[in-house]
């Protein structure tokens, strides 16, 4: 009788230890999984941030704006000459940057601005790429007075 009790107690002690080990093993596995997820999340987050450098945007926008100013001051934007505009774009923009320009020209008549002309220059805007924008309004002078008012919109992207 006493021997049976001793044997039962021994087997209960063994199964208690096994349960404890299993519990510790589960906690250990959970912690490992948590840490693994944390490391993975950090890696993904950092890699996403690394690919989306915000200063890159600034540089592209600046390049586009500068090109518009150069083209306007040279009188090329108001010329309406597609060959000249495209040649000037190629000469002004840094290599590896594509651009598309849309120029809307307005004329003032009867107290309002009416559209006079709309021209498109440059490459087609690609899909699936980050597109940035720049714009410039300018005045066309003819016969010593403001003949028309134009608005140039530029789409720029890295090829």
């Amino acid at each position: 009788m006493e021997a049976q009790l001793m044997s039962r107690c021994r087997s209960m002690k063994i199964s208690g230890r096994t349960m404890q080990r299993g519990f510790v093993f589960s906690i250990d596995a959970t912690l490992s999984a948590f840490l693994l997820m944390l490391v993975l999340a950090t890696t993904v987050l950092l890699s996403v941030q690394a690919t989306g450098d915000p200063y890159e945007k600034l540089q592209v926008v600046r390049a586009g704006k500068d090109a518009l100013v150069v083209l306007d001051r040279q009188g090329i934007l108001s010329s309406g000459n597609a060959t000249m505009v495209e040649a000037a774009l190629n000469a002004t923009l840094p290599k590896g940057i594509g651009a598309h320009i849309s120029i809307s020209t307005y004329q003032y008549a009867n107290g309002t601005f009416g559209i006079l002309d709309m021209d498109e220059y440059g490459e087609s805007v690609p899909e699936g790429k980050s597109i940035y924008g720049a714009s410039r309004n300018f005045v066309g002078i003819g016969n010593g007075q403001a003949a028309n008012y134009s608005s140039a919109r530029m789409w720029i992207w890295q090829k």
């Binding site: 200063y55 010593g144 403001a146 008012y149």
Partner: protein, 274 residues
């Protein structure tokens, strides 16, 4: 005793894992915050750029509209103003329309007060000399007393009349040159160069001198210099006026009006045109 050591190890292991986890989380938060700050900085820089670009675009537009009637150029310390008088009423309309166009088509909150620019009103900086046009009157007036008039070194004025519109010119009054002098050159001629009258003099900045330009004895224009180093040209209509004003320091010209570009980064100021 052995079981106690195992428990402690377990607790230390758990704690160290928690600490490592917290450190990693803090690191992620720190990097995310830095990245957000960097993005915010870029966004703000783009806004500053946008406002500055719009401002300089308006300056270009205003200068372009003014240029057929009033051509202003600056070479170091000399300001050259070429005008055809009277100033075209068309210029006034063009500036108004330009302001309307920018307000409606700029995509930004732009407002302009170009009241004085439409009348040919400018400020020469840093001396603060005011250039003003009114009917039959062109004035250059240093505003800040001696600090302003002291830097004004010379005037070179040319009045171009229609052929046959003038036939003589003479000094009406000449101030004696004293310690504070400026040199002046006045040329009155007709467009065909049939009559050309040149006057060179070193005069007192703080006294009055004037030249009378006549046609058959009748006054058609007066070029006057008065204290403090001011110039006034009184004339009828349809003349070409070239005024070259030299200072002792480098100068630039602004319109006597302001424009505002409102965005996340506002910019308000006078339009620098030369």
């Amino acid at each position: 005793m052995a079981e106690m050591t195992g428990h402690r190890r377990g607790i230390f292991f758990t704690l160290s894992m928690m600490l490592l986890g917290s450190a990693l989380l803090s690191f992620i938060f720190f990097l995310t915050e830095q990245s957000t700050k960097s993005s915010d900085t870029v966004t703000y820089l783009i806004e500053v750029d946008r406002a500055s670009d719009k401002y300089s675009e308006i300056e270009d537009g205003v200068a372009r509209i003014l240029s057929p009637s009033i051509n202003i150029s600056v070479q170091n310390s000399t300001v050259r103003i070429y005008e055809t008088l009277p100033i075209s009423a068309q210029m006034h309309d063009d500036l108004d329309r330009f302001a309307l166009f920018e307000a409606n088509y700029s995509g930004m909150n732009v407002s302009m007060d170009l009241t004085n620019a439409t009348k040919g009103g400018f400020v020469i900086r840093p001396s603060g000399a005011i250039v003003a046009n009114s009917a039959g009157d062109f004035r250059v007036t240093p505003q800040n007393g001696a600090a302003s008039s002291g830097t004004l070194a010379s005037y070179d004025v040319e009045l171009v009349f229609l052929p046959g519109a003038m036939d003589n010119a003479a000094w009406l009054a000449v101030s004696n040159a004293s310690g504070t002098t400026m040199s002046v050159h006045v040329r009155a001629r007709d467009a065909s160069y049939a009559v050309v009258k040149d006057f060179y003099k070193t005069i007192d900045k703080y006294n009055s001198s004037s030249i009378n330009i006549t046609k058959s004895g009748a006054t058609v224009a007066v070029v006057g210099f008065s204290s403090p180093a001011a110039l006034r040209v009184q004339c009828g209509e349809n003349i070409g006026l070239k005024a070259s004003i030299s200072f002792s320091n480098p100068a630039y010209v602004e319109t006597d009006d302001t424009i505002s570009v409102r965005s996340a980064a506002n910019r308000t100021g006078r339009v620098r045109i030369a």
